[in-house]
C-alpha cells in the first residue's frame, strides 16, 4: 500500500474546545501515523488530558474534525460506541470496575461489545493477564491489588478489545514510585510490538526509550512537535525550555 492509501491512525484538524469561556484546545492539528508512539508533554492545565479525551469523544469538541483510521468520529450513539471499541484508553486513576474480579474486568467488553463467547474471552483474558504479569491475581477484586497491578490490569482490559490505537492519560502519575517501572515496562513492550500510542506522561525515560515523537503543549496549543532527542537536547520555544527546566530539576 502507498502512503496515500493508508490514512493516519489519528487525524485532528482545526480542533477547538472550550470549557465555558476557557479556550482549552486551540486550532489543534495533529496526525499520528500507524505504529507511531507519541508522547504528549506540557504543564498542568495545558490541555493534554482534553486532547487525549477528545480523540475518543469522551470530551466532545466545539469545532474541527477528528478521524480515527480515516473515519470521522460519529455523534454519541451505537456507531461511536463501535469506534471507541477500537480505541483503547488507560486512565490515571485506573477505573477498573470495582464490583468485578480482574479477569471479569478484562472479559466484560469482549463479551458485551464484541459478542465473544465467554469461554474464549476468558482464555484470551488470562493470556493478556499473563502478558502483563498478573495472571495470579485474576480472581481478586481491584481494591485488593496494588496500584501498579491495577494499572497493568487496566492495560490488559484495553488490549482485550484488540484496539488499533491506545491512549494513555498519565498512566503512572497515581502510582507509588516503586510501581512506575512495572507499568512503563508493559507500555514499552507494547510500543516495540508496533502499537500506535498517544501517551500523556512526564516520564522522560519512557519518552526517550519508547517514543518516536514528542509533542509539547502549552495553553491549549501544540507548541513543539519533534523527536525526543531534539526536544530534550534542543527545545526551540521558551515555554518548552521553561517546562524542561522545571521537571528536570525535580
Amino acid at each position: 500500500m502507498t502512503a496515500a492509501s493508508t490514512p493516519p491512525m489519528i487525524r485532528m484538524a482545526g480542533v477547538d474546545k472550550f470549557f465555558g469561556p476557557l479556550h482549552v484546545l486551540k486550532d489543534v492539528q495533529l496526525e499520528v501515523p500507524k505504529g507511531q508512539v507519541v508522547v504528549v508533554l506540557g504543564p498542568s492545565g495545558s490541555g493534554k488530558s482534553t486532547l487525549c479525551r477528545a480523540i475518543n469523544r469522551l470530551e466532545p469538541i466545539d469545532s474541527g474534525t477528528i478521524e480515527i483510521d480515516g473515519q470521522p468520529l460519529p455523534a454519541e450513539g451505537k456507531e461511536l460506541a463501535q469506534l471507541r471499541a477500537d480505541v483503547g484508553m488507560v486512565f490515571q486513576s485506573f477505573n477498573l470496575f470495582a464490583h468485578k474480579s480482574i479477569v471479569d474486568n478484562v472479559m466484560l467488553a469482549p463479551v458485551k461489545v464484541r459478542k465473544t463467547p465467554a469461554a474464549e474471552a476468558r482464555k484470551s483474558a488470562m493470556a493478556l493477564l499473563e502478558r502483563v504479569g498478573i495472571a495470579n491475581q485474576a480472581d481478586k477484586f481491584p481494591a485488593q491489588l496494588s496500584g501498579g497491578q491495577q494499572q497493568r490490569a487496566a492495560i490488559a482490559r484495553a488490549l482485550a478489545m484488540r484496539p488499533k490505537v491506545m491512549l494513555f492519560d498519565e498512566p503512572t502519575s497515581a502510582l507509588d514510585p516503586e510501581m512506575v517501572q512495572e507499568v512503563l515496562d508493559v507500555m514499552t513492550t507494547l510500543a516495540k510490538e508496533g502499537m500506535t500510542m498517544l501517551v500523556v506522561t512526564h516520564e522522560m525515560g519512557f519518552a526517550r526509550k519508547a517514543a518516536n515523537r514528542v509533542i509539547f503543549m502549552s495553553d491549549g496549543e501544540i507548541v513543539e512537535d519533534s523527536t525526543p532527542e531534539e526536544f530534550f537536547s534542543a527545545p526551540k520555544s521558551n515555554r518548552a525550555k521553561d517546562f524542561l527546566g522545571k521537571i528536570l530539576t525535580h
Binding site: N56, L58, E76, K78, A81, Q82, L83, R84, A85, D86, V87, G88, M89, F91, S93, N95, L96, F97, A98, H99, L108, A109, K112, V113, F141, A143, A154, R157, A158, M161
Partner: protein, 215 residues
C-alpha cells in the same frame, strides 16, 4: 391466645394475601423503579422529563389517593378491567416505584464517574454501561434504604383492606364484628408483621456482608 386460635383461618388467609400483595408489588416496583431511575439519568432529555414528572407526581400523592384512582376512577376509562387484588398490586407498585427510583438514583450518583468513562471508552453502549457496570454498583451501595422502602411497602399493603382486599389489615374488621378482644387481636397482627419483616432484615444483612467483601 384465644383470639388467634379461634381465628386461625382468618389470620392465615389474611397474611397469605398480604404476603402475595407484598411479593408481587416488591418485584414489580424494583423493576419499574430501576427503569425510572434509568430514565432519570438518561442522556435523552425527554426520558429524563418523563422520569422526573412521574416521581414528582406519584411521590407527592397520598397512597390512598393512588388506590382510589385505580379502584374507583380508572374503571371509567374502560381499558382493562382489574379485580381488586390486581388493582391493589398496581397501586402499590406505581406508588412504591417512585421511591425505589429515587433510592436507585442516589445509588447511581455514588458510582464514580470514572466507572462510566471506562465503560464508554471500551465501547459499551449506554444501556450496557448501566446494566453491567453502573447499576450493579449502585444497587450494592443502597441496600439499607432499598430494604427500608420494601418494609414501608409491606406496611402499606394494609391500605388495600380499605379497597376490598382481605389482607392482614382487614383482620381487624372481622375481629371487631365478632366482638373479640381487640387488644390481643391487634397485638397478634402486629406480631405477624414483625415476623414478615425479619426475613427482609436478614436479607439486608447478608447482602451488605457479601457486597462489602467484593469492593
Amino acid at each position: 391466645m384465644g383470639v388467634l386460635t379461634n381465628n386461625l383461618t382468618l389470620f392465615r388467609d389474611g397474611f397469605a394475601t398480604t404476603l402475595q400483595l407484598f411479593l408481587y408489588s416488591a418485584v414489580l416496583s424494583l423493576l419499574l423503579g430501576t427503569f425510572l431511575a434509568m430514565l432519570r439519568v438518561s442522556p435523552v432529555p425527554v426520558f429524563r422529563a418523563i422520569g422526573t414528572t412521574y416521581v414528582t407526581v406519584v411521590r407527592n400523592s397520598p397512597l390512598t389517593l393512588v388506590f382510589g384512582f385505580f379502584v374507583f376512577a380508572y374503571p371509567y376509562l374502560e381499558i382493562i378491567k382489574f379485580d381488586f387484588f390486581t388493582s391493589a398490586i398496581v397501586a402499590l407498585t406505581l406508588y412504591t416505584s417512585a421511591f425505589i427510583c429515587e433510592v436507585v438514583r442516589s445509588g447511581i450518583n455514588t458510582v464514580p464517574v470514572g466507572q462510566a468513562e471506562a465503560s464508554r471508552a471500551l465501547g459499551l453502549t449506554f444501556p450496557q454501561m448501566l446494566g453491567s457496570v453502573v447499576l450493579p454498583q449502585a444497587l450494592r451501595s443502597v441496600v439499607p434504604p432499598l430494604v427500608s422502602t420494601l418494609i414501608a411497602l409491606l406496611k402499606n399493603t394494609t391500605i388495600a383492606a380499605g379497597f376490598s382486599v382481605s389482607e392482614a389489615g382487614a383482620i381487624r374488621d372481622s375481629l371487631s364484628e365478632q366482638g373479640a378482644n381487640m387488644l390481643l387481636g391487634l397485638t397478634w397482627i402486629a406480631f405477624g408483621f414483625v415476623v414478615l419483616v425479619i426475613p427482609l432484615t436478614l436479607l439486608q444483612r447478608v447482602l451488605e456482608k457479601r457486597w462489602s467483601v467484593a469492593r
